[in-house]
Symmetry: C2
């Protein structure tokens, strides 16, 4: 099982010693699910994008009524690709990522994993991001137009534990969640990040609008911390934690 | 002149002592300029949004060819509302803003100022942000639907110096730019931010994709610093500087 998942991935990255893995977990990113494909709001929105309804990203801004009347499971955690977009742009704009010290994984609410190659310039324009994600969900892989290098890859049905242990190859996983032990970004990073350690720590952050990790995630975390006195958005937590990681890993 | 600008604003905010002003300067946010209103890409995009071409935000993702063939001035700095969106979401998601210690001003490339009230929930969905900004450029003011409070206000033709001195009421203005003196976010904030100071410092960050501040901005800055060894995106600089401000102002 473990080997199978590793073998399924065609995207490989070599990270430097003393690197960090960031997992954006239960990420609110998926295409419109079957139950609501025939809803008028979904059909109209797909027509505007010139796509089939099944190719379009589920998005509360357009599909709210379909999501509610279609009685989607865990509906409060779904249809927010903008949250995942912000979280990804935040992580991939850091010197930590740009200098090959950060691996980023999106683990979706549907147990899909998005693997991200080195030097990916994720679009800040939502229109372009949306196009990229729709293509990824359809083709399962995005290659560079210049050199055919794999930039993004989508794997289906991956257990969270396998993502941490076999794909991210992390020996420790730390959740950052409003339900965790009260701490600060500096304290968490000082405790778990070491510039000489090649068993990189996985930092797990929720990619959904509200609520806490489901048991599928929290049962496999070694520890959970809350780094704000008030609830912070995922992208704010990412910015702060990666900045503190840089201070340790680059000694700035 | 000074009084006139203050009088023109209807939005007032009371900030706590020891607060900070953030100015997103030369922000790449405007409606489509007259020169290119009749370009086919502009007309088609406006039709999709069900708006007049003059109401639509200038956006390189849709209007690139019109911007190039229309020979817009300073074209490399324009048509990136996504950059302003990211910068604003970053700033307005911080505890510093949420706890009334941060005033945020957008100073556009066309010398317009966007004033931002307290507790504004800026949409993370670009679709909603775009709608909000189009409405603001058209109506000059956005009010809360609940209590008629002014949330956003747009002022035309404001000199940068007046923004700093009379609107932000800052005695010092510090630019963060790749052309500035090499430093760190911690050092800059330690030097200029004081929790007992009520003459708040204005931190000025470019809201455009590349290049440096024009003389219209840099001539009025007291000092400029670069806080990254590599060029950082505006939203990354905002996240780091405001986080360091919080450490001083909230003593965390």
């Amino acid at each position: 099982m473990k080997t199978a998942i590793i073998d399924r991935s065609r995207l490989s990255r070599t990270l430097l010693v003393g690197s960090v893995a960031l997992v954006i977990a239960e990420a609110s990113l998926e295409t419109v699910p079957k139950q609501i494909l025939r809803h008028m709001s979904v059909i109209r929105h797909a027509q505007k994008l010139d796509k089939k309804p099944s190719e379009v990203l589920l998005d509360r801004s357009y599909h709210h009524s379909a999501m509610v009347t279609g009685r989607l499971e865990s509906v409060w955690k779904r249809g927010r690709p903008d949250i995942v977009h912000f979280a990804l742009v935040e992580a991939l704009s850091t010197p930590l990522y740009l200098k090959n010290k950060l691996a980023v994984y999106v683990y979706t609410i549907n147990r899909q994993v998005i693997l991200i190659g080195a030097n990916l310039r994720i679009p800040k324009s939502y229109f372009r991001f949306e196009g990229l994600m729709m293509k990824l969900f359809k083709d399962k892989v995005i290659k560079s137009e210049q050199d055919d290098r794999i930039l993004l890859e989508l794997l289906d049905d991956v257990p969270f534990k396998h993502l941490i242990k076999n794909i991210a190859r992390s020996s420790k996983s730390i959740g950052l969640s409003s339900g965790g032990v009260s701490s600060t970004a500096y304290e968490v990073v000082s405790k778990y990040i070491d510039r000489f350690d090649d068993c990189r720590c996985a930092i797990v952050i929720g990619g959904f609008p509200k609520g806490r990790f489901s048991d599928n995630i929290s049962n496999f975390l070694d520890n959970s911390y809350s780094i704000g006195k008030i609830t912070l958005e995922a992208h704010v937590v990412i910015a702060r934690v990666l900045y503190e990681c840089e201070k340790i890993l680059f000694l700035t």
